[in-house]
Every structure is written in C-alpha cells, then in structure tokens.
C-alpha cells in the first residue's frame, strides 16, 4: 500500500502541472485524476466518485484574472490518501475539500516567489541572454517538488494520527455536512447556469 501511495503522489504531482503550467487538457480535473489515482491505489470507483464531488464543489471557482482557485489536484490526492488510511468516504471528501483551499495559499506563495525571477530575467535580457525555457523548466520543477513534499507531509501526518483517531462520534455530523456541501454545490451551479441563460435573453 505504501508503494501505491508513493506512486499515486508522484502521478498527482504530474497531473497538478497539467492543470496550470502545461496544457490544460482537463486530464487533471478531479473526476479524471481521481479515477487515475484510484486505479493506482486500488479503488478506482471511489476515486472517480470522490473526484466528481470535488469537481462539483469547485466548479464555482474560476481561474479568472489573478485569482487563485482551490487546488483540485491537492484536494483529490489528500482525499484519496485519507480514504486509503481511514476508509471513511464522507470525512475523506471533507478533508480533501479543505486541503484544496489550504494548498491554494501555497500556490499564491509559489507565484509570489516567481516575482523575483522577473527582475533577474530582465537583467539577463538587458545583457543579451535569453533563458526563457530555463525559467519555465525551473518553475515546473519547483511546482512539482513543493506539491510532492506537501502531499508526503499530509500522508505522514495522517499516518501518524491514525492509531489515535476514532470517528464514531462525528460520523453523523459529517454525513449531514457532506450532504450539505453537495446541496450548496447543486444550488450554486443551478443558479449560475440559470443566470447565464437569463443574461442571454
């Protein structure tokens, strides 16, 4: 299982690159990546269903302008690692859902870090050196490395707290909370689509 988690995290790192840095072919959308990672971890159906729910909840967030939406790749891998350890679907979804938001803060930090590169690249251009591919490659490696480290860190934390956690008490609350999240996602998407039609009229 540990080997599978390791490979799933690596695959997730590559899928995360596809979501912003390279391509945007929608292979990294949560339902797709959930299925791929689920296959690696041995529960493709749960991976797909969990991914669908994450995708549903995150559809309201668009990467428009300078906004940074919740990181769906982190949400999916956290959810699946949680599920692999605790076998508790609702709580795994809620955990993954929250981690997507947490990691979006990390995304902001990484993007801010790259601001410094602009100044150094500008100096290089002024001296007649053009290394754009170097910066793009550096950016891909940095993004991949931070994502992988963060995912392993989460796995270690979850593995460490596993023997001490018992979820019998909050189970009913999390079940209702889970239904609530799905309900607000449906409502939000419905009104959004309805408004788009109304604007056409």
């Amino acid at each position: 299982m540990i080997k599978n988690v390791f490979f799933a995290i690596l695959a997730s790192g590559f899928l995360n690159l596809e979501s912003v840095q390279f391509g945007q072919f929608l292979i990294s959308r949560p339902s797709f990546s959930g299925f791929i990672l689920g296959l690696i971890l041995g529960f493709p159906l749960w991976g797909f269903l969990g991914g669908l729910l994450i995708e549903f909840s995150y559809l309201d967030f668009n990467p428009i302008g300078g906004s940074v939406p919740p990181n769906s790749s982190m949400a999916v891998i956290s959810m699946l690692v949680f599920y692999a350890i605790f076998k508790y679907f609702e709580l795994a979804f809620l955990f993954g859902f929250s981690m997507g938001f947490v990691y979006s803060q990390m995304d902001k930090i990484i993007r801010t870090m790259r601001n410094k590169w602009v100044l150094s690249a500008q100096k290089e251009i002024e001296s007649g050196r053009y290394y754009f591919s170097k910066y793009i490659l550096k950016s891909l490696i940095l993004e991949f490395a931070i994502f992988i480290c963060f995912s392993f860190f989460i796995t270690l934390i979850l593995g460490a707290v596993f023997p001490f956690l018992r979820f019998s008490f909050p189970q009913k609350i999390t079940n209702l909370f889970f239904i609530g999240i799905i309900s607000i996602s449906i409502s939000s998407l419905y009104y959004r689509v309805k408004n788009q039609v109304a604007k056409n009229e």
Partner: protein
C-alpha cells in the same frame, strides 16, 4: 507564419511561470522568442523586442494563440506599426480574448464537460452487465474530455493562423467564430443538461437511497436541512460573503440538526 507547429507546442506553456508581477510574461516570451530572433537580426533590436513583450501580459490560455499570431505579424511589420501602437493593440486583444475565453471555456465548457461526464456515467451504468465498471467510468470521462480538447486545440491552432493572417485587417481575428452565438447556445445547452442532472439525482436519491417507505420525521428533517442549506447558499451569494463562511455555516447547521435528530430518535 514560419514554424507554426513549434509555436503551437510552445503555447501549451503560456502559464509555465505564471507570477503575480507580470502574469504570463515568461510564457509569452517563450512563445515569441523564435519569431523575434528570426525577425530582428540585429542584437540591439532583438533585445528591445524581447523587453517589449516581457511586460505585463494576461489572457485566457487557449485564446492566447490569437494574440500571439497578431504580435508575430506586427513584429514583422514593426516599422509600419511602431512600438506604442503594437503595445496598445496587444493589450486590447489580450483583454478582449480573455473575456471571450473566460466566458466560453471556464464559465461554460468546463461545466458542460462535468455535466456530460455525470450523465454519461449514469446512462452507461444502467447497462452495467455489458461493460465493466472501470470501462464505464473511463468512457464517461474520456468522451467529454476529448470533445473539450478537440475544440480547445482547434482554437489554439487556428487562433495562431487567424491571428497572424488577419492582423492587417481591423478585426485581428476577433471575427474568427460567432462567439456570441457559441456563448448563447452553450448557456442553453448547460441549462438543459443541468435540469436533467437534477431530475436524475432526485430520482436516484428517492428510488435507490431513501426509499418511499422511509418517510418519517427524520426524513422530513433531512429535507428541511437541504432546503435550509440552499437558502443559506442564496443568502451568502447575494450578500457576497466569503465561501468559507458558508461552509462554516453549513457545518454548524449540521451539528444543530444532528442534535435535533438525536432528540427526536430518543422521543
């Protein structure tokens, strides 16, 4: 345009080093550099041209091809356009294409892809005896994604060509497709499949999960809970409160309803 395949491949990296200072400037420079090198033989001219495009640049990644095509043409005719005009056209096109791309891809097609996945999975699952579950999931994922990708790759490839060939014309490729019609039709299509999904979810929940025989106080409380969460979503959206506050609100509502349900069960 020379070496269109190379530029087309490079457009996949337009957000490669996205930063808050100048957004997609690294990606744009990466796409343009081979052309700038070809056009400006003099080192000083090349340096000036590269710096000219290392400024703030932000557009929708799929639609960036149109802007890149236009820039390559304007760089080739730099003496006619001049630096200021080139910069103005570039920024105006980036804004215009970003607005179109955001509305088509992020706000509509992404939703279409998701809803189609859901419907396909539901439809194919009805015939589960013929296919394995993994095959059903794979089909319901790959078909909508392939449709999305074919359209986005078409826009990226022909956007480059159209941007380049129509740059001398006042529209600069903005008339490539009837964008308004596409946006309108996608809105109607999404609304229709959204309604289908809602009906599908409600019927599935009623028939398979809840069961008509289980209608009791707890079931009614669950329905009230659902209605309250929808009302909360509407309220928070209208008041433009942060999404995280809505999540916290739903959590506390779950705790409250859990207590009420526990109390009712005891009674």
């Amino acid at each position: 345009m020379n070496n269109i395949a190379n530029t087309f491949f490079r457009t996949f990296f337009i957000q490669g080093a996205w930063n808050f200072m100048k957004f997609q400037n690294f990606g744009l420079s990466f796409c343009l550099f081979p052309h700038l090198k070809r056009i400006h033989k003099n080192d000083n001219d090349l340096k000036k041209a590269v710096l000219r495009h290392f400024e703030i640049f932000n557009t929708q990644p799929y639609m960036a091809s149109f802007v890149i095509g236009n820039i390559v043409f304007m760089e080739e005719k730099f003496n006619e356009f001049g630096e200021e005009r080139l910069r103005q056209i570039k920024q105006s096109l980036a804004c215009a294409f970003a607005s179109i791309g955001d509305r088509i891809f992020w706000a509509r097609l992404r939703i279409t892809t998701f809803l189609l996945t859901l419907i396909l999975y539901f439809a194919l699952s009805l015939n589960q005896n013929s296919f394995s579950n993994n095959y059903i999931i794979f089909l319901s994922l790959i078909i909508p994604t392939a449709i999305y990708d074919i359209f986005s790759l078409y826009i990226r490839y022909y956007g480059l060509k159209k941007g380049y060939t129509s740059s001398s014309v006042s529209y600069c490729g903005l008339d490539f497709l009837n964008w308004n019609k596409i946006i309108r039709n996608l809105s109607y299509f999404n609304f229709a499949i959204m309604l289908t999904v809602i009906i599908m979810l409600i019927s599935t929940a009623l028939v398979y999960r809840i069961g008509f025989s289980n209608i009791n106080n707890i079931f009614l409380l669950q329905i009230i809970f659902l209605i309250l969460t929808i009302m909360m979503q509407r309220y928070f959206r209208q008041k433009k409160h942060k999404f995280i506050l809505l999540i916290i609100g739903v959590f506390f509502l779950s705790v409250l309803f859990n207590f009420i349900m526990g109390f009712l069960k005891l009674c």
